[in-house]
Symmetry: C2
Subunit: 324 residues, 2 copies
């Protein structure tokens, strides 16, 4: 299969491993230049939890809303033109309101709830929602089995959303564990993407390495598969100029006594990378990464502020992949 935009052309199937905002942005870019059958966006579900009886899949929804072009551009989560009557009423009734579910967002959650109650898998429910949002490209939960991320802090383990949303990432992160990871199977769509003979490569999006990408990589069999010589894996650094563009990655690195740098990200993904993409502001690190890991490094603009820059990074990344 060949994807073509203007003069751009890419052969084969691409798997994107993605978390929240940064991953969804690059996924949107990839969706602009790859045909629907050419792209599998595999999304972290370690952030998933149940809240108010609703099954919440934050990273899946960020991806759905971003590719469906209904995302809230200011928050990075939820839908545009959102209203809050349900949450206001919930507050009046003394319900939990720390996790912000807008009225329109709740429609997604009710559909997911009813699909799961009908016996559909999370993959099937996600496919239905994607179709309803007019999305042609495959958005695949990393697994249909529950995996739940906990952040180990000095005061004990916190469920991820409590750490991330309720406590605004304030506690010190000492380590992370993914409950259920030992028995969770990669979703059928993820697995068949990996087994696809036309797989041209795996792109690790600029998502949080510890809590967005590691749950995907830690699924049984995934690291082994990605280490195989014929599987090309490239990662785009989520750290730019010593900062994470969004989210707690840099704060986590500081707490883990790791420098917040692209080089640390490359170290984190050691043994699975065939190539690495860093931002122009970090160009000085290209040499050390290349020599340490014996992989080529692409230096380009990785900051995706509009559709043009998302598409440009997708294009740069895939062209780089083709050279490996």
């Amino acid at each position: 299969m060949v994807g073509q935009v203007g003069t751009f052309e890419h052969q084969g199937h691409v798997i994107a491993l993605s978390g929240g905002v940064g991953g969804a942005k690059l996924s949107l870019g990839l969706s602009q230049i790859l045909a629907p059958g050419q792209l599998s966006i595999v999304v972290n579900t370690g952030d998933d939890f149940e809240h108010l009886g609703l099954p919440i899949s934050p990273d899946v929804d960020t991806t759905l809303y971003t590719l469906g072009n209904v995302q809230n551009p200011e928050t990075g989560w939820g839908r545009e033109n959102e209203s809050w009557a349900c949450l206001e009423t919930l507050e009046e009734l003394g319900g939990d309101t720390w996790f912000r579910l807008g009225d329109r967002d709740i429609a997604t959650h009710l559909l997911r709830l009813s699909l799961l109650k009908e016996g559909k898998s999370l993959s099937e429910a996600t496919a239905s929602l994607a179709k309803a949002l007019g999305i042609g490209h495959a958005i695949l939960p990393m697994s249909d089995d529950p995996v739940r991320t906990f952040v180990t802090t000095p005061d004990g383990d916190l469920p991820f959303q409590e750490y991330f949303v309720k406590l605004q990432c304030a506690p010190e992160a000492r380590s992370f564990r993914f409950e259920g990871i030992g028995t969770a199977r990669p979703s059928a769509g993820f697995q068949s993407g990996l087994d696809d003979p036309s797989l041209s490569g795996v792109v690790i999006c600029p998502s949080n390495p510890f809590v967005s990408v590691d749950p995907i990589l830690d699924l049984p069999g995934i690291r082994q598969k990605l280490k195989q010589d014929h599987v090309k894996v490239i990662a785009v650094s989520p750290i730019v100029g010593g900062q994470a563009l969004k989210g707690p990655a840099a704060k986590m690195m500081a707490e883990l006594n790791i420098p917040a740098s692209p080089s640390s990200v490359a170290d984190h993904y050691r043994n699975i990378l065939s190539g690495f993409v860093i931002d122009s502001v970090d160009a000085d690190q290209a040499g050390i990464i290349e020599s340490t890991h014996n992989i080529p490094v692409l230096v380009c603009n990785t900051v995706m502020k509009d559709l043009e820059s998302k598409t440009a990074l997708a294009k740069d990344t895939l062209q780089f992949l083709s050279t490996l």
Copy 2:
């Protein structure tokens, strides 16, 4: 226990058997003149169903919203000042929208869903919601076990909400069945109200006899209990001047070849009534009902258009009860 409003005073505990709008109106009236511990409002749950994965209890919610003074006065269901962003979005996503759940109403349903998921009973969930709405009087689902009303029509059996909401009561009703009724137990609150030595009487509210009150009466043990001599039962006719003030009761009577009259309602409740309340416009039927059933009949205004008339009917009904 003694309830007192102005010069009104009532001794003992009262159980109201109630369905939707009419029942909730009289229940509100009763709550104005009885102390919280004196009144148990037992609500039909035969209308309950699951929709979009949410547990829906229409009659319980009508009662909650009416006593909590947040009801929508125009529709007879749902909350005042409602908005519809979730339902609009659900429609865009191709979801089911025939059952109208407003954004504020959804908050109630999410709380109920989460309480049930925590292992709470419908009674406990209802008590939590009542407390959240500032309601002091007990609102009790008739049962915590599922009972589901089906309307038998020439084209087969319809789940109640499909008949009532989706098809707007258009199909001809030939009979009714209450799935699960054989094994459903009266809720603990309902049962303890019936067993309360201070029980002064049971008021059957002006609700639909076939689909609102019969599910309550058909619960195992209830009719037998109400037939006991020491249990005084009075019903307020939901039929006034040949019409139901709300809902399909008169239409159902026509389809069942029963005259739509208070007399037919008294016939329907034969053997359990100690007294019957009819509207002044039907005064001419008092004699025939008294002689047929050998019970006294109170003739008064039963049309409840404001809080004053609700309270007045409650007062008339309880004073009548005291004379039996």
